[in-house]
């Protein structure tokens, strides 16, 4: 059970990092306009 919690923490971080990637891209497109 604790193993799954730590694996979930890792996956959650990388999901946030991918969302962060798309957030930065959105900001870049906004600055292009």
């Amino acid at each position: 059970m604790t193993d799954l919690i730590f694996i979930a923490i890792a996956i959650a971080f990388f999901v946030v990092a991918i969302a962060y990637t798309h957030g930065c891209e959105k900001l870049r497109r906004g600055s292009d306009d």
Partner: protein, 603 residues
């Protein structure tokens, strides 16, 4: 400064200068996809790897694709290592029969994150925790992969500056494969054999028990050390095969291996500045970056070596000889390897923290306050003093963007760098990367300095050191500060250093902190993830935005960035950003401690 220190510094920078140009030019050829002298021997392996992975190396990735590929690769290898570490008890190459008991969940999380992020922070003692399989597979894969990823990111950012009106910044998979095959592999083969020749072991034998001269029994840990040692240093990883790291005679047997190690740590970080110059078509741009890094490095080295050589007033008051003589090194020898003395130890401390290596040959916790401040400050700059492989260059380029922006504000020059206009988005990304690092260091330091976990109940377990895994008894701590060897300013420095090291992906420790608890392992793990990936993403975004831009011709309003003036400005920006962000923290730690030391000596 002793004569030994001066000779060592001259020799060290001389060798680095000799290496930088040829290796930098070679790496530029590798990452431009040009044929090198190694393609005849390794080309088939490169092509076979692409076929096995189903990768088209000519696919030019947009920055978002590049970033997601890097993130997914890192996540997959992180989970692989976590599982392998937890299952080490049923996996092969485990003559000491280590299992999950030595590697609880929070420690496996911390360790897998640590090696994935090129940090190699070790909350555990490797000699009594890790099987050979864990060392050679679960962790060593990251020594290669995290180094290759760092270099790939730097190359992608260089392409952002070098390309004009381009949609892509290269291919992540091709960059990682080429780096591994043509840069890391040949250098590790040669360096590993040289380490063996210097006396570093390479075997799969069980630990040897010997009888000492006093008649006692001593267990001597062995293993495949040389193959780990070379990638540990070359890839600025830093995780030791033994708990004593590079102070252990099997990791660092002699003064020669010590110098070799120092050179290996900065070989790629120094050379990649020339790769940058070559790829953007102006070698002087690379030398300006090299000059700024070298100036910061030299200043830190001189301060650290001088502070350690001066010793402390307490030693003087105790009538201990602190001046160097022909027979003893003088100065502050506490925590230093007697085989190396002060200059090679203090130089190692500044090199390993300038780079994001984290290998140590002396205990930084035992340095004088000012001597210890230098490694701490090196990490707080964001590891740009040559820095980690790739990471040092992309961190310094982030500061270069800020420097031209500040120059634009101060003297009315157009913010341009390598012919690219630096506009709102690039500055936003550079600031985002800077602020993410600062937030991670300061917030986690503040939390760990103040949080008081209950001594009983479910939450008490968050700060429990699992001593029973090593044959002792579990210890219960209340406040997170209960894990420190020291109270007051030095205790604060131990926590501050920990999160600076984790966020900067360095991995060295002040060592006066018991970090193998769920609280520290989890928060340090998060700091390592934030420091690595939340910094890389905005820099890749910057690369994508820059690659799309056209090149503007230099005009009378352009601030030249290939001159010593720019290198000086860059040094100033690194120091000002570092000082303004972290001065309060440094004041509470090493600065207070320095004045306490002086006050205690006079009262």
């Amino acid at each position: 400064m002793t004569v030994q220190a001066i000779i060592l510094l001259l020799l060290y920078f001389g060798v680095l200068l000799l290496i930088t140009k040829p290796l930098g030019a070679y790496m530029a050829r590798v990452f431009e996809g040009e044929r090198t002298f190694l393609h005849g021997a390794l080309g088939w392996l490169e092509r076979g790897t692409y076929r096995a992975l189903g990768v088209d190396p000519n696919e030019n990735m947009k920055w978002t694709t590049y970033s997601v590929a890097m993130l997914m690769f890192s996540l997959a290898t992180l989970i692989f290592s976590y599982v392998a570490l937890r299952l080490q008890g049923v996996l092969p190459l485990n003559p000491q029969h280590f299992g999950a008991r030595q590697m609880p969940e929070h420690l496996a999380f911390n360790t897998a994150v640590s090696f994935t992020t090129n940090t190699n922070w070790q909350s555990y003692s490797p000699d009594v925790t890790l099987s050979y399989f864990s060392n050679m597979v679960a962790l060593a894969i990251h020594n290669w992969a995290s180094a290759a990823v760092g270099i790939a990111i730097a190359i992608a950012l260089i392409r952002g500056f070098a390309r004009k009106n381009a949609n892509g910044i290269g291919n992540f998979w091709a960059d990682v494969v080429r780096c591994t095959l043509y840069v890391l592999l040949p250098m590790c083969l040669v360096g590993g054999v040289l380490f063996v020749a210097m006396g570093v072991p390479q075997n799969f034998d069980p630990y040897t028990v010997v009888t000492t001269l006093e008649g006692g029994k001593q267990t001597i840990a062995l293993g495949p050390v040389a193959s780990q040692e070379i990638i540990k240093q070359l890839g600025t990883n830093g995780g030791g095969f033994f708990n004593a790291n590079s102070a252990h005679p099997f990791e660092n047997p002699s003064a020669l291996s010590n110098l070799f190690t120092l050179i290996i740590i900065w070989t790629i970080p120094a050379s990649i500045t020339h790769t940058f110059g070559k790829m953007v078509g102006n070698a002087k741009q690379g030398w300006a970056i090299f000059g700024a890094m070298a100036a910061l490095a030299l200043a830190g080295m001189l301060v650290c070596i001088s502070a350690e050589q001066a010793g402390t007033p307490h030693l003087d008051a105790a009538h201990i000889q602190t001046a160097a003589t022909a027979l003893q090194p003088g100065g502050n020898m506490e925590g230093k390897e007697v085989r190396f003395g002060i200059a090679p130890s203090a130089l190692f401390a500044t090199v390993t923290t300038g780079a994001s290596c984290g290998a140590v040959n002396s205990m930084h916790d035992s340095y004088t306050p000012i001597g210890g401040l230098v490694p701490l400050f090196n990490m707080l700059t964001g590891e740009v003093i040559f820095g980690g492989v790739g990471a040092g260059l992309y961190g310094m380029l982030m500061f270069a963007v800020l420097a031209v922006f500040i120059a634009g504000l101060m003297v009315g020059r157009t913010p341009e760098y390598i012919g690219k206009k630096i506009e709102k988005f690039e500055v936003q990304m550079a600031m985002l990367a800077t602020l993410v690092l600062a937030a991670s260091v300061l917030v986690f330091t503040a939390l760990s300095s103040t949080i008081d976990l209950p001594k009983e109940g479910a939450l008490a377990a968050l700060n429990t050191w699992p001593g029973s895994a090593y044959g002792g008894s579990d210890s219960i701590y209340g406040a997170a500060t209960g894990n420190l060897n020291n109270s007051g300013a030095h205790g604060f420095s131990e926590i501050f250093y920990t999160y600076a090291s984790a966020t900067g992906n360095n991995g060295s420790a002040f060592a006066g902190i018991t970090a193998n608890t769920p609280w520290y392992n989890t928060t340090i793990g998060l700091a390592m993830l934030i420091g690595r990936f939340l910094m890389i993403v905005p820099l890749l975004a910057m690369a994508g935005a820059l690659a799309k831009k056209s090149q503007v011709a230099a005009s009378s309003g352009t601030f030249p960035t290939d001159t010593p003036t720019f290198a000086g400005l860059l040094v100033g920006v690194v120091l000002i950003v570092g000082a303004l962000t972290y001065f309060p923290g440094l004041s509470l730690g090493p600065v207070v401690e320095h004045y306490q030391m002086l006050a205690l000596a006079t009262h």
